[in-house]
Symmetry: C2
Subunit: 111 residues, 2 copies
DNA sequence: TATATAGTTAGGTAATTGCTTAAGTATGGA
DNA sequence: TCCATACTTAAGCAATTACCTAACTATATA
């Protein structure tokens, strides 16, 4: 339902850095600097990416002491996944109907 | 594997107009003006959205006479879907390992 | 052949994105 | 208490995005 959230989710996943961060977090929680380690860019840039991931709901984080620990929010992932499933379901339904139709009128239009 | 293509795919799906067009095309092929009909924006804007959908490989189109017919390319959708499946698989694996671990050391660290 | 239809091309603009550097603020350890 | 660590905030900038209008090119149809 919340189409705005799908916007944010897909937008978040459209960037290879952010997708990399999600891949990392799918293996388990990580601190900001751990997330940043594989990338050549500045820490503020990473933090900005993280902010988008949090805005989309894909990632949640909490700070204890001076380290912020980030972890995946699986529900947000599955929301996007559902969208794909619906599209596939529709496409398959359509092809089923087309199949039925062709079985009844193998030569095309029933004219 | 082609991470650049995932970029384009998710980028394409991040916009509600384009996502709407994909939803429409999941029900079956449509002409450019049919795709444009539900939206308040100009035709050139729609054509631009369509160009992004084609660049991502989600949609393919061909022009016959003066009408261009657009249709879904299911393979591109399933590429994105696979990415989600991998993420979920990893997350579940991790939780399984965590479960095993807790079964062996119910009190936490094995120190 | 004239006119409407379906789409295309070109150019412009305001807002957003993905970075950067510089200068902070807490927190934890020697 | 001093210093390093782990971020955070602010400001700026070049490139991209999502539109727009105006003008154009084909292809049907009357």
């Amino acid at each position: 339902m919340p189409t705005a959230n799908l916007d944010l989710t897909f937008q978040a996943l459209a960037d290879p850095t952010r997708r990399g961060m999600v891949e990392r977090l799918s293996l388990g929680p990580a601190s900001v600097s751990e997330l940043a380690a594989p990338y050549a860019m500045s820490l503020p840039a990473i933090v900005q990416h993280l902010a988008l991931l949090e805005a989309s709901g894909l990632v949640r984080s909490e700070k204890v002491g001076r380290v912020r620990t980030c972890r995946m929010e699986p529900a947000a992932l599955s929301l996007a996944e559902q969208w794909f499933n619906q599209r596939r379901a529709e496409a398959e339904q359509r092809l089923d109907r087309l199949g039925e139709y062709l079985k009844r009128f193998p030569d095309g239009d029933p004219t």
